[in-house]
Symmetry: C3
Subunit: 305 residues, 3 copies
C-alpha cells in the first residue's frame, strides 16, 4: 500500500512497491484519457529549495494530467526563508495548504525532517547525495519498458558514484531486483561508498568496480551514465581531473551489444556525445519522457490509492 505514505528514500520501498508503480504507469500509458480527473480537487505543493527543471516540470505535468492543481513555493531567495524562517515552519505552511508536498533540498535528511513535521505525504524529489527515489523509479521503469524485465540483466553504472544522488538511488533500487551483475564504473576518487558495497553484498548482487568503460561495454545490457556534478566536489581541482574522462562516443560503443540501452537522468552536459543520440542505443530522451507517467502513477497511488 502506498496510499498516504511519505517517499523519502529507495530504502523504504519494496520490490512490490516499485512494481505496483510500474503497473500503474503501464496503465496510464495505455489509456491516458482515463486518468484525467483522478486527482480533481487535489493540490500538490512543490518546494525546490535547490532548483531542478526536469523534476519540477515533470511533477507539475503529472499532477495537471491527473486533473490536480499545483502551488509552487518559488525561489527560496525570495521566500519567507529569506526573512529567516526555518524549514519546519515553511513545511507547516505548505502542509496546511496542500494535499501532498514535493520537495528538493541540498541537505541530506531535509525531506525526512519535512515528513516528520507534515501530516500530508512528502515526496523527496532529491536531497543530499543519496536520495532521489522518484528518479530511481523512472530509471527502473525505463529498463522494464525497453528490455521487458529488470531481473537477469547486466548493468553498468558510470560516472560519479560517490556524490551522485541519481546513481546512488539507482544502485539502491537495483538491489531490490535480481539483476545478473552490476559494473560500477568510475574514476578512483568517485567510487561508491562502503555502505553501497554492503547494500549490494547483503542483497546478494554480484558487482565489480572498474575504471574503464571499454573493459566491460561488451557485457552490458544497460549503461546508466550520469553527469559528474561540479557542485558536489568539495575541491574544484578534483572536478577538473575527472571532467570529460568518461565521455561516451560512437567509438566507445563499437564493442557494445546491439541491444544495449543507454540511460541518463539528464541534463547531460558533455558526458554523452551528440553523435550517440541518433544510435538505437540512445534511450535517455524516452526515459525522461517516462518521468510523467511514473510520477502520475506515484501521485495517484499516494493520494487516492
Amino acid at each position: 500500500m502506498l496510499r498516504g505514505r511519505d517517499i523519502i528514500s529507495v530504502n523504504e520501498l519494496s520490490r512490490q512497491d516499485f512494481e505496483r508503480i510500474f503497473d500503474a504507469a503501464d496503465e496510464i500509458l495505455e489509456a491516458p484519457g482515463k486518468w484525467s480527473s483522478v486527482l480533481r480537487g487535489k493540490i500538490m505543493a512543490t518546494a525546490f529549495f535547490e532548483p531542478s527543471t526536469r523534476t519540477r516540470l515533470s511533477f507539475h505535468t503529472a499532477m495537471l494530467r491527473l486533473g490536480g492543481e499545483v502551488v509552487d513555493l518559488g525561489e527560496v531567495e525570495k521566500s519567507s526563508m529569506a526573512k529567516g524562517e526555518n524549514l519546519s515552519d515553511t513545511i507547516r505552511m505548505l502542509d496546511s495548504y496542500s494535499d501532498v508536498i514535493v520537495m528538493r533540498h541540498r541537505l541530506e535528511g531535509a525531506a525526512k525532517l519535512a515528513a516528520e513535521i507534515a501530516e500530508k505525504p512528502v515526496i523527496n524529489a532529491g536531497d543530499g547525495s543519496r536520495n532521489h527515489p522518484t528518479q530511481a523509479m523512472i530509471d527502473l521503469y525505463a529498463i522494464r519498458r525497453f528490455h521487458g524485465r529488470i531481473d537477469g540483466l547486466t548493468i553498468g553504472v558510470l560516472g560519479d558514484l560517490k556524490y551522485g544522488r541519481a546513481t546512488n538511488s539507482f544502485i539502491a533500487a537495483l538491489a531490490k531486483f535480481r539483476v545478473e551483475r552490476i559494473y560500477l564504473i568510475s574514476p578512483p576518487q568517485l567510487r561508491v561508498r562502503d555502505d553501497t558495497r554492503e547494500l549490494l553484498s547483503e542483497a546478494g548482487i554480484e558487482f565489480k568496480e572498474v575504471e574503464r568503460l571499454e573493459d566491460v561495454i561488451g557485457e552490458l545490457d544497460v549503461l546508466y551514465a550520469s553527469r559528474i556534478q561540479k557542485e558536489r566536489f568539495p575541491d574544484p581541482s578534483e572536478y577538473e581531473l575527472v571532467r570529460g574522462s568518461y565521455v561516451i562516443t560512437a567509438e566507445t560503443l563499437k564493442g557494445a551489444r546491439s541491444s544495449l540501452t543507454i540511460l541518463h537522468p539528464l541534463p547531460r552536459v558533455d558526458e554523452i556525445s551528440f553523435e550517440v543520440d541518433s544510435t538505437p542505443h540512445a534511450k535517455y530522451f524516452e526515459q525522461a519522457a517516462l518521468g510523467v507517467p511514473v510520477r502520475m502513477a506515484l501521485l495517484k497511488l499516494i493520494l487516492v490509492g
Copy 2:
C-alpha cells in the same frame, strides 16, 4: 455587499463585512467539497511587487480550491516594469487579462492607485506600513474560531506597532468590535502612531500602552505577536537595540491564563521560542492554515457574491 468591491484597507470594511466573510469561511470549513467549482472559469492575477510567500501561496491555494485559475506576474525584476513600465500600465494589463487582481507593494497607496485604474476588483495583499486587510480578516477569524467570539476579550498586541502593517491592520480591525481592552506592548520607539490612538479612542476602545509583556500577560485572552521587520527601520542600529527584547518563551508564559492563545502573522524568526510551539497557547500555525478558507470566502464573495 462585497461583490465587485476593492479591498484596500480595513478602514473601508464594516463589522458586518468581517462577519459575512467569517460566516462564509465557517461554511467552507464545514463542507469544503461544496465549493470546488464556485469560481470555475475565473482568473485571479497576482502581482507581488514585494515578495511574500505565505500570502501569495494561500491566495493561490484559495483560488484553486474554488475551481478558479491563477496567473502570476512573477518577479518584478524580470517584468515589464524592469523595462521602465509604470505601475498604471502594468495594472491595466492585469486588469484586461483577469477577473480579480491581488497585489502587494512596498509603497503605501499603491493598491489604492491600482484600484482606481482597474475595472476589476483589487485586493490589497499588503502595502506600505498600515494596510494588510486580508491578514486582519484571518487574525480576527482565528480569534472567533479559538474563543468563540471577539467581543469582550482582552488582547495584547506585541512588537512593532509603528511600522508593522499586520499589527496596524489588526488593531484597526479590532476597533470594529467591542473588545474589553487592548494592551499595546512595544519598545518606546515602536509605539503606535497618533492616528491609531485616535482611531481607538473614537471607537471607544479602552487601550493602554505598555513596555513590558510580563506586566500584562496575566490579563490577556489573546497575545498577538509579530516580527520586528528589519526592513521597516530607517536606521539599522535602531533595529539592533530592540531585536530580541520581546522574545516569548515558556518562562514568559508562566503567569498567563490557561486559555491564552498566541497568534502571529508569520513568518517568525526568533520572537517566539520553539519551546512555545508545543504549549496549548500556540495557535499561530492553526491561524495560518485559516488563511485559505478566509481568502476563499473573500474571493467568492467578491467575484460571485
Copy 3:
C-alpha cells in the same frame, strides 16, 4: 489549416491564416463562455529564455480561459540550461511533457531550431530582431476591430524599424494585405533593413521612409508606435541620441485625423506621453487586451483545429 503547425515567422503565414485567426477571435469575443473547455486536458509549456511579462501572461491567460493548463520553464538562470544543458535537450524535455510549446529567445532562429526538434507545435513568442508573429496577429486584429478593415488604410510605423521585432513583424504582416500606403518613420540609424524594402516592393505595397512624424501625421489612419529598446543597440551612445526624439504628445496629434488610432505593442516607457491616453486616438490598451482572444484563437486552431 493551422492544426498541428509551428508558428515561427509571419512569412510562413498567409492572409487566409490571419483571417481565420481573426474570425475565431471574433467568435471568442462574442461568446467567451462557449470556449471554456475547448482545450481541457491539454498542456502548454512556456519557455521564456528572454523575459516577457505581457506575452507570457497573455498566453497563460489564453490557455487557462480555454480550459487548458500551463507548465512554465521558469527562470533560465535557475534551469537545467544553467547546468550546461543545450537548447535542443531542453526543448526535447518540454516536447515530451506538453502538447504545445511557446517560447521566446534572444537569438534569431532559436524558435525554428526548436520546431525542428519538437514533435509538438512550437509557437514563437519572439526571437531575434525580426520575428514576433503572435504580436503581429494582435496588431492587425486590433486594426480590423477598430477600423473594420485593414485594406485601404494608410499606416505609419514609428520608432525602431531596424532592431524592433514587433515593428518588423507588423510590417511583414501588413504586406499580406492591400493597405493604401505605409510610412516608415524613424531616425536614419534605425531605418528598415533592405530585406524589408524588398518584401514591401515585391508585395506591391507603396511605402515611404520619413524622419519626421509631423510631416505625415495628417495622412494616417493608424500610427503604430514602438519602444526604442536600449538592449537592441550595439552601442549605448547611439541609443542616447535617438531616445526621446520620437515622443508622441497631444501637440503632435493636433494635425491628426479624428479617426486616427494609435497602437503600441507595450510596454511603453516615455514614447507616448500620458496625456495621449485620454484622447480617443489611444487604442493601445484595448489592443493589448486583444492579446488574449487572439492567442486563444491561435491555440485552439493549432491544437484542435
